[in-house]
Amino acid sequence: MQKQDIIKSFKDSLFTGLIALALFGPIVGLRTASKGEGLFITPQWGVVFLLVGLCILGRFLININSARRTEFKIFSTLSSKFSSITEDKAKHFAITGILFAVVFPFLPFTDRYFMDVAIMILTYIMLGWGLNIVVGLAGLLDLGYVAFYAVGAYSYALIATTFGWSFWICLPLAGLFAAFFGILLGFPVLRLRGDYLAIVTLGFGEIIRIILINWYEVTNGPDGITGIPRPSFFGLPFKRSPDEGEMSFHTFFGLEYSTMHRIIFLYYLILVLALITNYFTLKIRKLPVGRAWEALREDEIACKSLGVNPTNTKLTAFAIGAMFGGFAGSFFATRQAFISPESFTFIESAIIVAIVVLGGMGSQTGVVLASIFLIGITEIFRDLEQYRMIAFGGAMVLIMVFKPKGILANRKPTILMHGDKK
């Protein structure tokens, strides 16, 4: 390497250090601490110099490496790993993924915590798949998807607590309610596209949340709804001591009572619901309505010139996407047994949109990978408490750097004339 290169990269890293100092100085360097009668500032210059030093060193190493035209090994392998995932390999991945998901609860290392995380990831996968219909296929950027999740959860909770109907009756009803709200949102936004649509849907999500907080008589306001019935296994409840003359799951099968039974049942429930969503999406994508969604995403004016009704096409996309959001919502309600408007804030919508976009718009397998990656990483870094969102942001940045179009961006045609050549 030339001497002037080293000097140049050294200067560059000093400049990086300057920026780092400007950032870390006030954020890390000045820490407020409350002592007795007020707030005092405790400086932490040591930490600041450590961080700035690290930035300078890191930048210098990157500069030297790029000057040598060799990449960091870890970056290049990561990059090639990601780009080698194509839709063909995705099929094998899907099959092994489903098999793994089926045996997962019985693996030796699986404990209560793993099951909870797995259920959470599966819920997000299902929401991602549902939103994929609206965002990935129809190209309608919906930032208020959590509204349908909330409608599903509250419909389930209200119907189940008021009428005492079973989970399997309430679930489709909740889905229908959510679909109805999807159409309700769809009508005013028919003429909007892109940014304008995103802003209105964002507002819709907030409207639903604020209604849930303020409509105290029905939704119980910020206190939420408690005592939502748990799902039963074909009429067999998961209870330690069943009522007189009633069988519960463990007595019927002659098992020792364990709270894991219910968790495992919930796990399979969300797995089946998610797989139904996936199967439905894959099927409907190959039908005329699915092709019309994609055509609408590509060019709405061309669609009109071919006689495709954009109103109906958009409304079906909203309704079906919302319906799956509603199903996921009822699952959420029955799992938690308690819901409040707190659970349906904008950040949830943002995470679901992030999953769809990072997974690669319209890619079903991409949604799975992105959910595992994003939710998994935030779980791994749970010990860092509030800083774990940094890990979430870092994961998003990593995907965008290495796969700007999402993890799986290749689209496969819905119908082939010459068969599968590859």
Partner: protein
């Protein structure tokens, strides 16, 4: 020969600007009618009125069918293509670039396929009646792809095709809705002479074999003069001449409109 389309006293105003001024003309069945004129003469506005993208300020447009005539004013938006069967292409190509060539042609058959799939119900159940209908739609797409010689690229993305092929694909996509009237907005724009000649052949085929009337906006005079049966010349929204291609070439008004008047 009987009329296919009659435009009667069509006027389109945008605020104070009169884009089309009291325009009347007829297009005959099984003929290619060209609308020419200098830039800004209002040609594309006529198309947008005909195909429901604009609602004309005044005037009528009729599409003649076997025994009655249909007012195109009644239909807006997608219904022009769906009900009145008037298809169009665009000055700047509007394909679905990320979808395959075959998918592009299937979207054009959306309405029939929607009914065949029982509004998705039969399709989800994978009934044979739907699969047969879908096969028919694929066959129709193949028929048109054979004509423009793009069958081997049916599974490629439409956006990956060369420019000339995209033009042809857009025309056959419009033909897939089985239109009575096909409106082409500058189909030869950006084509080389060889591609223009192929386009002429395709348009003549559509005219003679498919018995579809064609309304054509074009600047490329080799295309206009080569295939037009009838030419309408616009300038500043007014019709300044109407006649056959030969008559148009000799018309004093047309030459003046294009080249200006001697001082």
């Amino acid at each position: 020969m009987s009329n296919l389309l009659s435009v009667e006293k069509l006027t389109m105003k945008f605020g104070g600007l009169i884009a089309i001024d009291n325009l009347s003309f007829d297009a005959k069945k099984n003929q290619i009618t060209s609308i020419i004129g200098p830039n800004g003469a209002g040609k594309t506005t006529v198309f947008n009125c005909l195909t429901g993208f604009y609602k004309p300020t005044t005037g009528q447009m009729y599409l003649h069918q076997a025994d009655n005539k249909v007012s195109l004013r009644k239909y807006t938006d997608f219904k022009i293509a769906h009900v009145a069967k008037v298809a169009r292409t665009f000055q700047n190509i509007r394909l679905f670039p990320a979808m395959s060539v075959l998918e592009n042609l299937l979207v054009a058959q959306h309405n029939e396929l929607m009914i065949a799939s029982g509004y998705s119900l039969y399709g989800l159940l994978n009934l044979k009646s739907y699969r047969d209908k879908e096969q028919l739609a694929v066959n129709k797409a193949k028929y048109w792809l054979d004509i423009i010689g793009l069958t081997h690229r049916a599974d490629d993305n439409a956006g990956d095709l060369p420019y000339g092929d995209q033009r042809k694909l857009e025309i056959v996509r419009a033909m897939c809705i089985e239109p009575k009237l096909l409106c082409l907005d500058e189909p030869a724009a950006g084509l080389n002479p060889k591609e223009s000649a192929e386009l002429n052949k395709l348009l003549k085929f559509i005219k003679t074999e498919k018995k579809t009337g064609i309304l054509l906006i074009e600047h490329d005079m080799s295309v206009v003069m080569g295939i037009s049966d009838h030419v309408v010349v616009l300038n500043y929204g007014k019709k300044i001449f109407e006649g056959t291609a030969e008559q148009t070439k000799k018309s004093k008004e047309v030459i003046e409109a294009y080249l200006g008047v001697d001082e």
